[in-house]
Symmetry: C2
DNA sequence: TTAATAGTTTGCAGTGAGTGCAAGTTTGTT
DNA sequence: AACAAACTTGCACTCACTGCAAACTATTAA
């Protein structure tokens, strides 16, 4: 079966990439090494992954399908963030089962370029999930709330991975759960921006000379 | 004066990078072209900017400093998300101002990837912001809430950029503000995960999306 | 003015990512 | 067995980026 072979090759590459990245640090691994470790040519590597980082992230395209499915088949009464929780929880359970969560998670969070890639590749997923969620919620496509629920859920995941690094006694899933509760209840009941549109605020610090940023 | 010459060269490179990026699209510019346009060698370009994008963005290293400063000098009574709002608002005002005044701002605002790069480099070290905020809040370093406030603020920004693309009549700053309010008040009052810790749940399928896949 | 010196620029050589192409190999089908 | 589709691979190429050492230039001391 071709499908099977492709999946095997993909897995072998992802596995090799992860192992080598853990060994030598994500920036000291070359595609050549990864390809060699997986017994394929460098060129073939790039048939599977557009970037080196994608291989280390080891994202499985099927998972998004299942996520969208879970969202579509969720009970009508389920609140939107609750739905997102189950979607995320499914991932976490899967990763925990494979025992790869902390290995890979820690690695990712330790490397800015990996975090960047993770976010980048999450964006497309987030867009689809947002669309699905907005539909479920009966809100217009441009709903800030729907988009925020998805996007902030991703943020909660990243935060959890980050904190898990320094507090390994708390499981990632536990930390994510806490994050979801905080998000659900409100980040800050005291939020009160007194828009300093013109004057009298000491926060109107001047600006820079070079371009933006 | 050497200082002056360095600043001139830097400006020339940034300017050339911007002009070429506007002309040919940010992805179709080579460092060689930029260097040539600024009358320096390619090698010299890399003495000034670590990456091509930095030149296009004309990134100012002071930005993070300013953000942290704003955070440190915030009134004690200011709630944490409010503080984040002012920090973010500061950046957005820059962009809006530059967007009006300079071609660079326009280019950045027109290109999601550049906007994202900009936000990322502005928040280069989210950990610093998180640490600063946690300290302000008198919470331990591993505070989920502090980390989430910073991280979710970033999410709100990205959501705003994204929505602004399809709904240009709403300003990015306006959309970000709405996002902050949603985050402050709570994403979902109905959040109620019926923790399926052991059995019988039909939602226990592995899955993917945000987490490291 | 001249000579030492410290800061800058540059060429060069090299690594490594990533792409397009065309030829070769495997796998599935008739 | 013959054929086509899918997959792999080598090759040649562009480009980003780095380290090194030579060359250049402004600054300072004598």
């Amino acid at each position: 079966m071709r499908e099977r072979k492709k999946r095997e090759t993909r897995a072998a590459l992802a596995e090799a990439a992860l192992r080598l990245a853990l060994d030598k640090g994500p920036d000291n691994v070359t595609v050549e090494e990864i390809a060699e470790a997986a017994d394929v040519s460098v060129r073939t590597f790039f048939n599977y992954f557009p970037h080196k980082e994608h291989a280390i992230l080891g994202r499985n395209p099927e998972h998004l399908e299942r996520a969208l499915d879970r969202m579509r088949t969720a009970p009508a009464a389920e609140s939107p963030l609750t739905t997102m929780w189950f979607v995320v929880d499914d991932v976490l359970r899967d990763l925990e089962r494979e025992g790869e969560l902390s290995r890979r998670g820690e690695l990712i969070m330790s490397s800015p370029s990996l975090v960047y890639q993770l976010m980048m590749s999450s964006f497309e997923d987030e867009r689809l999930l947002t669309a699905g969620l907005a539909e479920r919620m009966g809100e217009p496509g441009g709903s800030v709330r729907a988009a925020l629920i998805v996007s902030a859920s991703g943020a909660a995941c990243r935060v959890a991975m980050e904190l898990h690094k320094t507090a390994p006694e708390r499981s990632v899933r536990d930390l994510v759960a806490e994050g979801f509760h905080v998000l659900a209840d409100g980040l800050d009941p005291g939020f009160a921006p007194t828009v300093p549109d013109d004057t009298t605020t000491n926060h109107t610090m001047p600006e820079e000379q070079e371009g933006p940023s």
